[in-house]
Amino acid sequence: MSEESNARSGHRNRAGAGAQEQAVHIGKSKFVGFKYFLWILPFLILVFLFSYFPLHGWIYSFYDYRPPRSLSQCEFVGLQWFKMLISNPTQVSQLLQVLKNTFAMSLLGIATSILPLFFAVFLNEIKCRKFKSFVQTFTTLPNFISWVLVFSVAFALFSANGMVNTFLQQIGFIDSPIRFLDSDSHTYLKMLLWNMWKSLGWGSIIYLASIAGIDQELYEAASIDGAGRFQKMFYITIPELLPTFFVMLMMAVSNFLNNGMDQYFVFQNSFNKEHIQVLDLYVYNIGMTGSSYSLATAISMLKSIVSIALLSLCNVVSKVTRGETIV
């Protein structure tokens, strides 16, 4: 009996010890979970601070906000600014033009995003180490120059009495200066070229890194099979780089509407404004230059709506083609 009870109590004891152990374990895992939570907390705070907190500024679009006055001194006007946006056909057509510019330049950017890949592939084929690193540094550097400085370079080169015009005039090629900067011809293309000049080298870095990661055995096997240089490039290097390319492409698509404004801001003038105004610049011009913060806020909210629409579209496309959603 006693043995039995002993055994039982022992059993019980063991069970108790087990529960205790489990409790300790749960406590520990809770603690670990909390510890992990602490690890991500700073980033949550950052995301909140920089992505969600600014959203409270949307409130300005419902007020008649005029800067020296505080918001509480301003009149609440409800949807007045949104109505103004839609009800005026000229405003709508301007907005459409701006969206067209934004989409066109983003699309051109995406269409040319394959170039850094080719650049990296070709650069990789250069055997002379010194030359290769020279080219790489030289093409990467522009990425670190701010657009303001890029514009001053552009101005020095292409303004009416800039280097190019002076040179062409002196050799007697032209009589009057060519208006490179202050004309509306090929605005998209010019902007694309400036952007490529600035970002090509930088964009190729990630591909150069992935090239370094390609299994050398593949090349050796290809050599044995008698593949030439170009065949190796097209059948090994590029296919190996494509996954990276698609990741980059997706990131580019998600930034579709955020195609920056500093570039367009420094290059804009009375002549090219019709085609250079992208959404961000338009918001700036209306809000800061035209001093209508409330309307500008309303337009910038529109941007978020378009972004969400694009994202959902991508999601649907992804679901149909790949069978899984992104979000």
């Binding site: 008649d64 005029r66 800067p67 020296p68 006055r69 505080s70 001194q73 007045q80 600014w81 103004m84 005026n88 056909p89 000229t90 405003q91 057509s93 301007q94 101005f155 303004s159 009416a160 009495n161 009057s176 200066p177 208006r179 900067l181 202050d182 003038n269 009375s270 002549f271 404004k273 011009n285 209306i286 800061m288 230059t289 035209g290 001093s291 209508s292 913060y293 409330s294 309307l295």
Partner: protein
């Protein structure tokens, strides 16, 4: 381990920099509260004070240097850090971001139109001045003008602009008008003083002049016209100027005639503004427009005038004041006004109660407001006017650029002859050194009209070009030749008055009221449309293109709500005309 410490340190540094912004703002709010608690009364000048001067009218950004800086440093131990929206560009951006941040500046020189002053007062950005200005000379001398400047406000917040003892119907300008057709007189002489009948005639004349000048100087960078974009507002600034030669001045999108006889919107079929655009387009087609125009700013353009490379100028102060140095005029070179047969130049009448469209205020967060008030008081004193308004045409500091002779009459010193109006002359070390031109007050604010008598100069005007001694001594070959051609007139104003070519708009205390923000919003967009298209029209490649840009400009502007803005502008013009008529009646007694 080392790596870990290093990365921790780096993280720490990053976080620290992130929050650095918050820290400094907390600090500044602390100093603000101490600033406010400083009570009015006598100020102690022992501590150097740097004032942030927000100045709507300044064309220079940065610290005031040179002789003017030395004078105010010696007197008040202050330095001026000028913040100039004109230089920064981007329209109202600077004003709005600074006001939104709650601190416009310590000393504020601001345009009051569109209810800005009321806004500043109601949002608590400017200081009530009565305590600080009590018993000051400015309060005693200009109480009427101060009252007018603060009309509709409870208390005294703003000090007036361009107060005058002249009646409203007399031109408030000195020997030169604000606007007028100025050309290189030496070339004009060489061409045999051709008669110019209208703007088209001017164009033909300038085409010939450009050819002549290029041949003579052997260089191709001489142009008849040069434009810049910095001052574009409701319309393209450069294209508005010739309309002022026909008696118009802008009020929103309306050109209002000096005598109230005509208010015309700038996009109307018979608008003088569109006419000027057409003429400029024609000029560009004939190769008379400087190709730098589209990209240059005021500074670049004015340096071309200093070199005499642009033949025509709509303003005396951008051409004559810069190029007609003693050296140039004695060689017979210089800008002078030429008569266009049908012109009637717009002239701002004197403003006995001050021009209320501009004002000086003290920022509510200013440190040591008493000292700033003392400084403002000095700006309205004879000495302050002489020095601060030198850039606008006053004589400068006594003992340096001018002095009194034995009879108590003022004369320009040898130094003054070299330095005035704004030349690159070396200033003696005891006056602060540096270049005279760079030392000129950057405030660009006329507290008192230059046509007022200066008690320090024996009652002669602040405008030294009216002094007897100056007129006698300044008769250079250029002036003599001009005078001989103009029927013996000694000054431009004299000629214009004699030939009834001056349209004086009586000075009033009118400034445009606050407008509905719906209208402001529309106006902001319409403005941009008009300015951008105006530039494109001038540089259009063909007549068809010119017309099509014009048509699309009018269509877009109207589509955006141009007509709604016009209603407001026409009403404002009507009110302004009424105020002018009243002022004229008042002072005709």
């Amino acid at each position: 381990m080392k790596k870990k410490i290093m990365s921790l340190l780096l993280c720490g540094a990053m976080v620290a920099t992130m929050f650095a912004g918050c820290g400094s703002s907390a600090e500044s709010s602390q100093s603000e509260s101490t600033g406010e608690s400083a009570s009015a009364g006598e100020s102690d000048y022992s501590k150097e004070l740097t004032l942030d001067v927000y100045d709507d009218f300044a064309n220079y950004n940065g610290e005031q240097t040179g002789w003017f800086a030395k004078i105010i440093k010696d007197k008040f131990n202050i330095k001026l850090n000028i913040i100039a929206p004109n230089v920064a560009g981007g329209g109202d951006t600077l004003y709005q971001t600074r006001t939104a941040a709650g601190d416009l500046g310590d000393l504020i020189l601001v345009g009051t139109s569109n209810g800005r002053l009321t806004d500043l007062v109601e949002s608590g950005l400017v200081l009530e001045l009565s305590d600080y200005m009590k018993d000051k000379d400015v309060t005693k001398n200009y109480s009427g003008a101060i009252e007018a400047a603060n009309k509709g406000l409870e208390g005294t917040y703003a000090m007036p602009y361009s107060v005058s003892t002249d009646p409203a119907t007399v031109s408030g300008e000195g020997t030169e008008p604000t606007f007028g057709p100025y050309v290189r007189w030496d070339y004009y002489k060489e061409m045999g003083y051709p008669e110019v009948k209208d703007l088209n005639g001017l164009l033909d004349m300038l085409e010939e002049m450009q050819a002549l000048a290029r041949k003579k100087e052997g260089t191709n960078d001489i142009y008849a016209f040069s434009f810049f974009k910095d001052w574009d507002g409701n319309m393209m600034n450069n294209a508005k100027q010739p309309t002022c030669m026909y008696g118009y001045d802008e009020l929103g999108f309306v050109l209002s005639k000096y005598d109230g006889s005509e208010d015309i919107d700038i996009l109307a079929d018979n608008s003088p503004y569109l006419e000027v655009l057409k003429i400029y387009y024609e000029a560009n087609k004939r190769g008379l427009v400087d190709p730098d125009s589209t990209t240059q700013n005021y500074d670049t353009m004015s340096s071309k005038y200093s070199q005499g490379k642009i033949l025509f100028c709509p303003w005396p102060w951008a051409s004559k004041s810069l190029f007609n140095t003693q050296e140039n005029t004695s060689a017979g070179k210089g800008y002078q006004m030429i008569p266009i047969s049908n012109m009637k130049i717009f002239s701002y009448g004197a403003t006995p109660e001050g021009n209320t469209t501009q004002a000086i205020c003290i920022g509510s967060k200013a440190e040591d407001p008493q000292r700033i008030a003392d400084f403002i008081d000095w700006l309205y004193s004879p000495e302050g006017v002489e020095c601060n308004e030198q850039g606008n045409g006053a004589q400068g500091p006594k003992g340096l650029s001018w002095d009194l002779d034995d009879d108590g009459k003022p004369y320009i010193t040898e130094f003054g002859k070299k330095a005035l109006p704004s030349n690159d002359t070396e200033v003696p070390e005891e006056w602060g050194g540096g270049s005279w031109k760079d030392g000129v007050s950057a405030l660009n604010f006329k507290c008192v009209s230059l046509e007022d008598p200066d008690p320090n100069a024996g009652g002669a005007k602040y405008d030294y070009t009216t002094w007897e001694s100056y007129l006698n001594a300044a008769a250079t070959p250029l002036d003599e030749d001009w005078s001989a051609q103009m029927g013996g007139a000694k000054t431009t104003m004299e000629y214009l008055k004699k030939n009834d070519m001056l349209g004086i708009a009586p000075g009033t205390t009118y400034s445009t009221p606050v407008e509905d923000s719906n209208i402001s919003t529309i106006r902001g967009q319409v403005k941009a449309t008009i300015v951008d298209n105006s530039w494109q029209m001038i540089f259009a490649e063909s007549d068809e293109q010119f017309e099509s840009i014009k048509a699309s400009m009018i269509e877009t502007a109207k589509g955006l709500g141009y007509d709604d803005c016009l209603k407001v502008d026409f009403q404002n013009a009507k009110d302004q005309n009424a105020a002018r008529a009243e002022a004229a009646k008042e002072y005709s007694k």
